[in-house]
Amino acid sequence: MQNNAKRLLIALLLISLCLTGCAKPRIVDDVHLVQAIGYDYYKENYLLGTITSPVYSQSAGSGIMPPKSDVMSVVVKKGTEVNAELESESEYQLEPGKLLVSLYSNEIAADGLFQYVDLLKRNPDIGIVTNLAITEGSAKEILEGQYASDPLISEYLSNMFKKHATNNFPETNLHTFLYQYAGKGMDPFLPLIKKENEHVKIIGIALFKGDKYIDYVPYSQAFVFNMLYQSFSKGNYAVPLNASQYVSIENISSKVDYQVEPRGKDGRHPIVKISVEENGYVRESASVLKGKHSIPNLQKRLAKELQKNGITLIKNFKNLRTDPLQIGSHVRSFQRHWSEAAWMDYYPHADIRLKVKVKLKHEGITN
């Protein structure tokens, strides 16, 4: 008897839950998925926000039609949300849960990205592997463009960034940005992109100081940057042999090791020793690899080149007082009672040494 009463009670509870309840559904085809978002300056204190979302067409039985990209833009006052404004013109609810890329024009980035990134960070809907990028010129222009390879700019960019993260380029996404922005002894960096006809091109690595964009490393030096930043396994680099010829080296593995002498010669300032070990092979060559261009000679030449470029890069960073290579953080891990302020004072004239070793395993199937 009591058992029945209990069952009845639970059943009643469940039924009443069913009737009153239900979370607000967000059915995937009844929402407008914002996949890319871009910010430009419109004029003083006004932003031009642009979003794109895919529009799929019905497939019933006849395979998938290529999707179209729906682009909407709106001018908002700085500090207000773009999505909320755009609701007024979208057919369905705008949902940022599948956001793939977020673009910021270089002008916006120069004034600081934090307030924009904070929007992404706080919202649990947004994935942490969302790609961020800085655009040279207008972000809207990139989002509006028609591209041959993929009808959706969001997919195009996200695939491109994903490919680059495994090839030549350090991985960047919302997580790395937040990590580098918040961490002490490090500064964030993001890819810098530009529209070129029917394609979007990565033109370099945008460097930040805090959350402000200051300069960039050109794409040709991305390999060197990556080599100093992390150990990685795939990349390629071209070594000029003379004015007209070059050799292209494919990377098998690159190992970087930071050693810090916490108390340098003067007993106060640390010495940072970076050693890099490159393993690779020759993929393309414009000349026969003999004599002057034999493998051992090539190795030396390459090591010298990489070392030179690396040192130049570090010097630039010092001059810009930005630390994308996280040298400060490396020093911190060797030093007790490290302070960021003291380090930043010392950084521009820090003693940072670089040593590069190169080993070429083979030269392909011909010589």
Binding site: L13, L17, T20, A23, V129, H175, G183, K184, R332
Partner: protein, 370 residues
Amino acid sequence: MALEIQENRQVSPYVLFFIIYGIQTGIGVINYQRPITNSAGYDAWLSILIMGFIIFVVMWMLTKLLEEHQGDLITIHHHLFGKWIGGFLSFLFSLYFLTMSITVLNTYVLLVQVWMFPQMSYWEIATLLSIVAYAYISGGLRSIAGIAFLSSIYSIPLILALIAPLNYAHFDNLLPLVNHSVPALINAGKQMSLNYEGISILLLVYPFIKKTESRDNRKQWVFYATSMTTVVYLVVYLVTIVYFNPQELDQYLWPTMSLWKIVDLPFMERFEYIGITIWIFVILPNICLTLWGASRIIKRLFSLNQRIIVGCLIIFIVLFGYLLSNQVELDIWNKYQSLLGLGVMLMYLPFLYFYNLVHRKMRKSHAKQR
């Protein structure tokens, strides 16, 4: 006056492992990283070890007490403080267990609201969860032990998912080692009391564990469980701090959830949603055991029907929990809860142990005098 439990209501000794492990890994695991890091920086993993050791000692004391008195919390209180005071203290413990279940229930409801269903009302989530909890509690300790066991199996994917953040690991975050003072480390350890406060359930569960005539291996499982919990906390913490830097970690309210965000499976993105879903199995043993404990004490004290007590308690915690259904209030509640837990765990339980020693001596001398 040993407390006898019917044999078919008893459970095997190894189950004690899962009960103790289950009650220690609950709602605490998703956000213990932040407070301890605030106190001891990235040396806080040492605090976890220290805390693990302290809990080890407390557990040892509890098993000693239980073995001497051949019963549970109520018997111990009764022996040491007499019927009325002892009974009153036991009743306070019942309330203590009740507060714990409120903490767990509310934290989970908030978690679901923040991460999955912002529009869903407190009532809906809490009622559904309490129906599930009732289904287990009404099966007695055996089914609660079952869910404790199964939950530790179900949570294996959650622990495996922690491999993915290691792709973004910065191992030099750990260096330099031991950059903080011992008081800071201990202070950090204290911040973890919310994680460990369930251990007092041992005082009620112990008589339910089968022991064979030949050997009594109940104790060893308690210690295995404590070690296991320490290892899990340590592993989760290490993964957290190589993935986040301290300044970043300070921003995240639920670091463990944020860790899962990085997991991208080919057939399913955004592992944190799976994480929250599976998390229900991690908190179920907590809610069930604490509610069972609270109702068991009342049953033992007042000889009421436990089924009815559990029903009433569940309705009570769902209603009471509504008062704490937003972040600010819950934070305050959790702060006091954690203080209370600290007091019970590190003051009252050791006090009970030492008082028992004194009491025993007094009894002996008393007996001699006669």
